[in-house]
């Protein structure tokens, strides 16, 4: 298994994120949120992240920024290392502000 590397973006087939609009999760600050539009890499640790709900189409809400950071996905709070969060890309979820969407965990 190759070690995790700094994510190179935009990635692979499927939905190519708009580089101007997508941002990796470790760049957000507390209170910000977005829809997960891309997760690059197929490392086993990325797979672990996916089974815990950090997966395409889910809404991710940053509770605490930093490394490691705390996010909320599907009503669960997860602690995630910064080097993993760098592989998760979000796009703004237009319309509804974060705090109204946030369901907590």
């Amino acid at each position: 298994m190759p070690p995790l590397q700094a994510p190179i973006h935009p990635a692979g087939p499927g939905q190519v994120p708009d580089p101007a609009r997508s941002v990796s999760a470790n760049r957000l600050s507390a209170g910000e949120c977005g829809l997960i539009c891309d997760i690059d890499g197929d490392h086993e640790d990325i797979e672990r992240l996916k089974t815990m709900g950090v997966c395409l189409g889910r809404r991710l809400h940053v509770i605490k920024a930093g490394d490691p950071m705390i996010v909320s996905v599907m009503g669960t709070r997860l602690g995630i290392a910064g080097r993993l969060a760098g592989h998760v890309f979000l796009r703004p979820d237009d319309g509804v502000p974060c705090h109204e969407r946030h369901q907590g965990g």
Partner: protein
């Protein structure tokens, strides 16, 4: 709350009257328990089975399960508590094992006839992801909608009827702490077991669609789970936010880069200190109890081999195991309280960054803290570390940390060298602790950059909501761990101490062989005592004299035994460290448990075992020892080398045996033993040289 079942057509029917299970008595019925971590599986397991659970490994794997049984309609049902799962991913060993267990693909375990899927009602969407996957496997199942009390307090209203239809399986709301809903849960389970897989409703379309989606199966499943969850739950506004706000407020402190670390240090220090203060009380009782038992049997049994075997081999051996029990139980009691409260996940979160510097994950911290009580339960508790390489490195370095069994050795040596300088003694004592920690960290780094390369796997951890921990769970876990220690380690320790007793007793030193080891003056002394014994009037006096003879001869008996001969044979190996053959015998005897060296040195140096408990006599005797040329045996250099050797050496075969169990191969305990012995020898050699130069 009512239990609801969906029949084939998707209609809901209320639970029917109890069906009578057909008498298939010969085949034991197995029911598996699956669920996300923290969904309350263990609590539900304990509620169903009472105290009858026991931990076991799946044959051929290192994944542990809990086994228990409970009666259902007059039959005994085997309950299998699988490890906590988030999904059925092929990538994680535990999840693959759990999947195989559910499908009956694991050797030695029958396919379970049904599964109970434990779902956290306060976090429905996330938990339905797994429930949907288990449903896809086609195992007949009942959903236990757990923590219903918390969901209600949060103002959540869950429509179990619609859930049952969407999942194609009965759903029962339960509270595993109080047992609410369990009657219904059992009835539903009985019904599902009775009607078998043929009677299961067809796989609901929503779930079936997830399985066939090829692009991102996670995505499809999560979409499904989120939709189903949203449809089934009605939230009363306001209420839910309360308990969440509390968690967020606590987390602002406990995960903070500064306060969080301070809190972490405080909590861990409190755990650490209390296992040494609180647990010390029952430990002293156990020691006193076994000491008393030894005295009683020593007095009742006629002097001779049987007496020595019972007192030293058996009672000493059992006492040596049980004395650690209070500490282990208390440690796990505290850790379970922390785990149940939700703090342990935060501890791993806070410890992750500093630990990752040496290549270990934050989850390795608590096992390493536990290792300061005893390496055996610490190694068993490395199961929380998900990544195999990370776990292996932790297992390899854990025995370097100072366990309780080393303390008597530290006490002996500091008393010997620094009896009149308590401050220096204290510093050396602390230094020994720090040396163990530094060596563990250093070796973890070495392993991570050589044979087990790679950074620690990056942190992904669920931070569950803070909850009031359950005493009952904590007590049950403490009991469970204590029992696992006694059965796994205890038998090994007892076995080894019996073997060592044999080695230290045979061959017997017959009178004809005295001339080989006993000096002439001692022989003369013995002869004098014997003549005196023959002439005294009372039997008691004669016995006292005979005991004196025994005490005079016992060092030579040990010298003549296999242990003594081995001690002499290995002298070339240890003489560079300044050890004489008597110290070697002590080192060899400490393989069952390190603290045994204290008693052994007391015997080889001829002051009798009882004197070992009296620090002053022992250190005075040790200090008075002279080599043949008249130079002292226990110079500062030798004693310091012995201390360093004991800090670092793998003087504990039971730990090796547990490493074998946990890693499934003899390769790793062999490596553990080998590297620690080499490290200990080299460090002791350097210490001996350096201190000799300075002194």
């Amino acid at each position: 709350m009512s239990g609801t079942r969906a029949d084939e057509s998707g209609r809901h029917v209320s639970p029917v009257s109890l069906p009578v299970l057909p008498a298939r008595a010969a085949v034991p019925v197995t029911v598996a328990l699956a669920g996300n971590p923290n969904a309350g599986k263990t609590t539900l397991f304990n509620q169903l089975t009472g105290m009858r659970g026991k931990t076991a490994n799946f044959a051929g794997t290192t994944t542990s399960v809990r086994l228990g049984s409970f009666p259902l309609n007059g039959k005994s049902i085997q309950l299998l508590d699988l490890p906590g799962l988030y999904g059925m991913s092929e990538h994680k060993t535990e999840e693959r094992t759990a999947r195989d267990a559910l499908l009956g693909k694991l050797s030695g375990r029958p396919r379970p006839q049904a599964a109970i899927v434990v779902v956290d009602a306060t976090n429905l969407a996330r938990n339905l992801y797994l429930a949907g996957q288990v449903r896809e496997l086609g195992v007949p199942m009942v959903i236990a909608l757990n923590m219903i009390d918390l969901a209600e307090a949060d103002g959540l209203e869950i429509d179990t009827d619609s859930l049952a239809v969407e999942l194609g399986a009965p759903v029962v709301a339960v509270n595993s702490r109080s047992g609410q809903g369990f009657d219904l849960l059992k009835r539903e389970l009985a019904y599902v077991l009775d009607s078998g897989p043929e009677a299961m409703p067809a796989l609901p379309e929503g779930i079936a669609a997830c399985g066939t989606c090829t692009t991102c199966p996670h995505e499809a499943r999560y979409d499904w789970a989120e939709e189903v969850g949203a449809r089934a739950v009605r939230t009363a506004t306001g209420a839910r936010l309360m308990s969440l706000r509390l968690t967020e407020a606590i987390d602002r402190w406990l995960t903070h880069p500064f306060h969080g670390v301070a809190g972490f240090v405080l909590i861990m220090a409190a755990v650490f200190i209390s296992i040494f203060t609180v647990a010390q009380v029952p430990m002293a009782w156990i020691e006193a109890g076994f000491g008393f038992a030894g005295d009683v049997f020593g007095a009742i049994l006629p002097p001779g081999d049987l007496n020595s075997f019972v007192v030293n081999g058996l009672i000493g051996g059992i006492g040596g195991v049980l004395v650690f029990l209070p500490q282990i139980c208390f440690l796990f009691f505290l850790i379970t309280l922390l785990e149940d409260s939700g703090y342990l996940a935060r501890a791993a979160f806070v410890a992750d960054r500093p630990m990752s510097r040496v290549g270990l994950p934050g989850r390795a911290f608590v096992p390493m803290l536990s290792a300061h009580a005893c390496a055996i339960p610490a190694i068993m508790s490395t199961r929380v570390i998900e990544n195999w390489r990370d776990r292996l490195v932790s297992i390899l370095v854990i025995p370097l940390l100072t366990c309780t069994a080393r303390l008597p050795v530290y006490v002996m040596i500091t008393a010997l060298l620094f009896a009149d300088r308590p401050v220096v003694g204290g510093l050396v004592f602390t230094g020994a602790y720090l040396l163990g920690m530094a060596a563990a960290i250093g070796m973890a780094f070495v392993f991570k950059s050589t044979i087990l390369p790679g950074a620690s796997s990056p942190l992904v951890i669920e931070l569950p909501r803070y909850r009031l921990p359950s005493m009952r769970n904590a007590l049950l876990t403490a009991y469970d761990r204590g029992r696992a220690f006694v059965t796994r380690a205890g038998t090994v320790i007892l076995g080894i101490s019996v073997v060592l007793w044999v080695l230290a007793t045979y061959p017997k030193l017959e009178e004809s062989a005295w001339s080989t080891v006993v000096p002439a003056e001692t022989i003369a002394q013995v002869a004098g005592l014997r003549t005196a014994a023959a002439s005294v009037a009372s039997e008691a006096e004669a016995e006292a004299l005979e005991a004196e003879v025994g005490a005079l001869l016992s060092p030579y008996e040990l010298e003549y035994s296999v242990a003594g001969r081995v001690g002499k044979a290995v002298a070339p190996v240890f003489s560079p460290l300044g050890f004489d053959w008597k110290i070697n015998v002590g080192v060899i005897s400490s393989f069952a448990a390190r603290e045994v060296i204290v008693a052994t040195l007391a015997i080889v140096y001829g002051i009798g075992e009882d004197a070992a408990e009296d620090e002053e006599t022992l250190s005075a005797t040790l200090a008075a020892q002279r080599h043949a040329d008249g130079s002292p045996v226990f110079t500062t250099a030798t004693a310091m080398a012995l201390l360093v050797f004991f800090v670092l050496a793998m003087q504990c075969l039971p730990t090796n045996v547990v490493t074998r169990r946990e890693t499934g191969s003899w390769k790793w305990p062999a490596l553990q033993f080998g590297y620690m012995t080499v490290l200990a020898w080299m460090a002791a050699f350097v210490t001996y040289r350096v201190v000799s130069l300075l002194a």
